[in-house]
């Protein structure tokens, strides 16, 4: 009783302060979902990057090998990368021996800060893009995520990867050097289990994001992924794809966005009107659909206007 009363008094005293106080980050608590033999998926929240989720919105994958765990996409911050590394060690009994960064975006790449740069591998295009945009991303993430980002510095991947067969700790991978979601998109096929780690070339039940997208390249990359024999697919965002529907869903959304924005310009709509257009019911299971449509308007609309509005 006494405690309770004190708590009430304290709450009353603190309330006006708390409204303006700094919010402190929580603790990352990544959970693994077993996908196949020696391979786990760690699900991100199917949301926008926000303080409430610590920026942990991208999927990661962990693969057991004799030479240490492989971590595919190390998360958004140093603490996130550390939590994923600790999880990998618990699952595989070995520390992380290799990190792959699928592409430059901060929710996938900045967690490399938790690891020795020599362990971090990516496509050369991704390193170039991180050199160009990494600091800007870091600023943006510190603004949004504040305390969650503490200690996070941009780590440029030191290991180059290229298209073809690769082996790490006796485990065989097929690496694909693709592009379209960004200037460099790495996909990895685990040969033993037929599991395809698709990075952000494939979204599943979560609307694709397009800040550095080239849609023709993206479609060509989806063609290659669809043609590659695989049993399971870990998308960059959204749940595990067991039936091969995620590639088609990603392609469908991108095609719809492109056509819809093209039509919006030819119908005389401005950007905010285009961002309010109805989203067809077939996309009703896609999380963050309105949010990503409005982002795509921002990414594509000015160039479409420059193409489609008559020059006087």
């Amino acid at each position: 009783m006494r405690l309770a009363r004190r708590a009430v008094v304290l709450a009353g005293l603190l309330a006006p302060v708390a409204a303006f106080a700094e919010q402190f980050a929580g603790k990352y608590n990544p959970l693994a979902e077993k996908v196949s033999d020696g391979l786990w998926m760690v699900r991100g929240a199917d949301e926008a990057i926000a303080f409430a989720n610590g920026g942990a919105i991208a999927n990661s994958a962990i693969i057991a090998t004799d030479a240490g765990a492989v971590l595919f996409d190390p998360g958004v911050s140093r603490e996130h990368g550390r939590a994923l590394g600790a999880l990998a060690q618990r699952l595989t009994g070995k520390p992380v021996g290799r990190v792959y960064v699928s592409h430059l975006h901060p929710d996938h790449a900045l967690g490399a800060a938790a690891f020795d740069p020599a362990l971090v591998h990516a496509l050369p295009a991704t390193r170039d893009e991180l050199e160009r945009d990494g600091e800007g991303f870091s600023d943006a993430m510190y603004r949004l995520l504040a305390d969650w980002m503490k200690g996070t510095a941009v780590v440029l991947p030191q290991g180059d990867v290229s298209e073809g067969e690769a082996e790490f700790g006796e485990r065989k991978f097929r690496l694909l050097a693709l592009k379209g979601h960004s200037g460099g998109d790495l996909a990895l096929l685990d040969q033993a289990t037929g599991t395809l780690l698709a990075g952000d070339l494939v979204f599943h039940d979560r609307a694709p994001s397009t800040p550095h997208a080239s849609l023709p390249d993206w479609r060509a990359s989806l063609d290659r992924l669809a043609a590659l024999e695989h049993k399971l697919l870990v998308p960059g965002h959204g749940p595990l794809d067991r039936d091969g529907g995620a590639i088609a869903q990603t392609r469908d959304w991108l095609g719809w966005v492109e056509q819809t924005l093209h039509d919006a310009v030819t119908r005389g709509l401005d950007m905010s009107e285009a961002g309010e257009l109805p989203i067809p019911p077939r996309f009703s299971m896609l999380k963050a659909a309105r949010y990503e449509l409005q982002r795509s308007v921002s990414h594509f609309y000015p160039a479409l206007e420059a193409d489609l509005l008559p020059k006087l």
Binding site: D270, R295, E305, L309
Partner: protein, 250 residues
Amino acid sequence: MMAKLMTAALLVTVSAPALAAPADPLHSPMWEHHAAILFGKDAVVFDERVAVRIPEIAENQRVFPVTVDARALPQVRRIVLFADLNPIPVAVDYAPTDAEPFLATRIKLDQRTPVRAAVQTQDGIWHVGGAWIDAAGGGCSAPPVSRVKGDWADHLGEVRAGQWPEKAGETRLRMTFRHPMDTGLVENIPAYNIERLTLRDGSGKSLGEMQIFGSVAEDPAFTVVVKATGAISFEARDTAGLHFPGKVGA
């Protein structure tokens, strides 16, 4: 500079007469300051009939789309589009003489801010609508893309436009201009922006006129609905006195 601005803001707040403006539902720290300057002693109401349509995220703080639709209000004579916490708060001041009270454009955002439209009706009352939007810094204080790229002068004044039938007797007009829209807040780049846009029908009668400020996005785009059909002409003028004319329809 900042200190001077702050002092000016404080003086205005302190010395302003009893405000006609009601308490701000958005609780903006700059509301009273802007209300005193923009509205003086005019009556002000917050009014849902002023629709300020903005996306849920400021994906690009240099190019933030805003649509103001006050067609639910009768006899509008002025629309002022502004962002409370921008260093250049007012973006557009539009007098839709013979046009619908409708305006779509893109503005710069320099930080998290309310984005609002104040719409004055013929009776002198200001009707205000708007919402907060979160944004990263730098919309007004970073150099325009074409300055960084260096090709702004190659495309200066390129005009694109299109027209579409709206309801009977009305035309939707869209205009884009290549222009750096320099704010003057970037080191060694003086302010340089389109400052006026005039709309006319085929006979030369004015349909509407806008005053335009440096907080409108680079390569500005404007969408309006005029009460005219057939040939419609427009002309933008920038702060260097250059004219950018255009014409659509018959």
